[in-house]
């Protein structure tokens, strides 16, 4: 990746984080931690990788993205708004009565959202259906889905993993946003996924582990997934929950809590400083 392109992606990701905080602050609720950990991957997909068109959100040959960890939609909404699907003004009324942007993604109401989600464990199944449809119709679009690490405790994830592998859905790429934290504590303490790589490998996946905040690593992994034949790929992305906002980083408490006015100011100042440094 060219340095200039990398810098652009980093700047966009910073803007995604700014709008994530803006949305959650104005909603007085929501999930900043996992949104911030997933922001770089979503930025990469929407601003570098996916064949999508904000002017034609439903075009049949578009690549698809399913945010299975639907509670992290503040980052998705930020990416979609910055991409041009809708105005960033919508983010300021996220979760308000009558707002377009719901607490969890609503494909009926929000342009660019490919699947309604929010009830954990269900997104990979839908992504499998999309990938299977492409195979059936000889379409060459690709399907991406993002899971939380805690979400991998849901049994349906593994039903879907079996299906994806059985039907050789090599047009399906999963990301696991492995930030190590869930509501009740660390993933290791709550349920323990232990060898997640081994689990996916035994389910027949190509498994790639990366630093989920490194755009070059994300690009390499996505390209490897695209060249992998006859089996689906999972990219296990090691991330930092709350990435980019110092007091939120690696803190369980910021899974599902909005910042107060003082915290909001600190967060925005930090992110704006990062953006300014990149623009300098």
């Amino acid at each position: 990746m060219e340095k200039s392109e990398l810098l652009e992606l980093q700047k966009t990701a910073c803007k995604v984080r700014l709008w994530t905080i803006e949305g959650v602050f104005n909603a007085k609720s929501g999930h900043p931690g996992g949104s911030l950990s997933a922001a770089d991957i979503m930025t990469y997909l929407y601003f570098k990788e996916m064949n999508v068109d904000p002017a034609d959100p439903k075009k049949p040959d578009r690549d698809r993205f399913v945010l299975s960890k639907g509670h992290c939609c503040p980052a998705l909404y930020a990416a979609l708004a910055l991409k041009g699907y809708f105005s960033t003004d919508e983010i300021k009324v996220l979760r308000h009565i009558g707002a377009m942007l719901q607490g969890h993604p609503d494909m009926k109401g929000t342009p660019g959202v490919d699947m309604s989600s929010g009830s954990l464990g269900q997104g990979v199944s839908a992504a499998c259906g999309m990938a299977l449809s492409a195979k059936l119709s000889s379409q060459d679009y690709r399907v991406y889905a993002m899971l939380g690490d805690g979400e991998c405790e849901e049994g349906q994830v593994w039903e879907a993993a079996m299906f994806a592998s059985h039907y050789k859905l090599d047009n399906l790429t999963l990301f696991v946003d492995f930030n190590g934290l869930q509501i009740d504590g660390t993933v290791a303490d709550v349920a323990g996924l232990s060898d997640l790589q081994g689990k996916f490998a035994s389910f027949g996946f190509e498994v790639i582990t990366i630093d989920g905040h490194d755009f070059c690593a994300i690009e390499d992994a996505v390209n490897k997934a695209k060249s992998t034949k006859d089996k689906p790929t999972v990219i296990i992305a090691n991330t930092i929950k709350g990435k980019g906002v110092s007091f939120m980083e690696n803190q369980v408490g910021w899974h599902g809590k909005a910042p107060n006015a003082d915290q909001y100011k600190i967060a925005m100042d930090e992110l704006n400083a990062q953006l300014k440094a990149m623009e300098a």
């Binding site: 049949p60 464990g121 199944s125 839908a126 259906g129 999309m130 299977l132 449809s133 059936l136």
Partner: protein, 314 residues
């Protein structure tokens, strides 16, 4: 005229899928390791490239169907009613119902007429579960011809549909040359003025025999086949309430949450008359031959004749 050969509606469903697939290449069929029982195997044999076994994983099957629907396919996902609507309820609710996707869910082996497999597999709650999901159409066809037409109507309708299939082979009573199916439109099978019986699904034919026997004995019973539980045909219910003053509902389902309560809600709000619910009285079923169980639960023609006469005299 109706032929005398008995056929289970699950088999009619499998045949209807094949008929539809001839003309529509967007139909895809999913099953969860029960193709031989739900009769999607009929489709599987004819169209193997469009059939996908999901294994014993109903939640995933519903999600895969949802994903296929987002991409323009028209998936029919089949399993036993217990698992398609019970095990996978939340997937149906959140992955299909909330986004109002064009997924058709078929629940076979519904009701006590599953027979020997017993209570774990005798789903008497599916209509209730599916009725509560906003935007879900709920169909419960009564015989072979009705199932064929209902399956076609489900395909033609753009949105989520639940179709209840029976395991037990039953007689067909509809006349294929003089039959039409419309979602949400009940069918009056017998005219009458003393009381109205509204039946649904596999027990409609039993109710028909009971009503005809009662008519011969001088009781003027109206019989309505309510093949669509949701959206319920309000007009036909209100008309029956006004003209006969009393309604008896008959269903192979828990009397809580099914046809009876759907009918009672319409009468209560529009034309209050007594509504008596005949069905499975909030109990689990048990093992035994299907025909014997229907008799035990009072849902065969003899049992219904007795019950309708008793309730009509109240």
């Amino acid at each position: 005229m109706a032929e005398s050969k008995k056929i289970a509606t699950r088999e009619s469903f499998g045949m209807a899928l094949c008929e539809l697939a001839k003309e529509h290449d967007d139909i895809v069929v999913l099953d969860a390791d029960l193709a031989a029982a739900t009769k999607t195997e009929i489709f599987k044999k004819a169209y193997p490239d469009r059939f996908f076994d999901c294994g014993i994983a109903e939640g995933n099957m519903i999600g895969v169907a949802a994903g296929l629907a987002t991409a323009g396919k028209v998936p029919f996902a089949a399993s036993f009613a217990m698992f398609a609507t019970g095990r996978a309820y939340e997937q149906v609710r959140n992955s299909v119902g909330y986004p109002h996707l064009n997924v058709k869910i078929a629940g076979s082996h519904a009701g006590i007429s599953v027979g020997e497999d017993g209570a774990t597999h005798q789903c008497c709650e599916d209509l209730a579960l599916m009725r509560t999901i906003p935007g879900m159409v709920v169909l419960n066809p009564a015989d072979h011809y009705e199932m064929i037409e209902a399956t076609k109507a489900a395909y033609a309708y753009d949105g989520p549909v639940y179709i209840r299939l029976g395991r037990l082979a039953i007689e067909s009573f509809n006349d294929p040359d003089n039959y039409s199916f419309e979602i949400g439109k009940g069918i009056t099978l017998e005219e009458g003025s003393d009381v109205t019986v509204i039946a649904t699904g596999l027990v409609v034919n039993e109710a028909l025999k009971a009503v005809r026997a009662l008519k011969e004995k001088g009781l003027s019973v109206r019989l309505i086949n309510m093949h669509t539980i949701k959206p319920i045909d309000k007009d036909i219910i209100i008309k029956a309430a006004k003209e006969t003053g009393k309604i008896i509902t008959v269903e192979e389902h828990n009397i809580i949450g099914g046809l009876g309560e759907a009918v009672a809600a319409v009468t209560a709000e529009n034309c209050p008359v007594p509504v008596y619910r005949v069905g499975v009285e909030d109990v689990f079923g048990h093992s035994g031959p299907a025909v014997g169980l229907l008799a035990e639960f009072g849902l065969d023609a003899a049992g219904l004749e007795k019950k309708i006469a008793e309730l009509a005299a109240k």
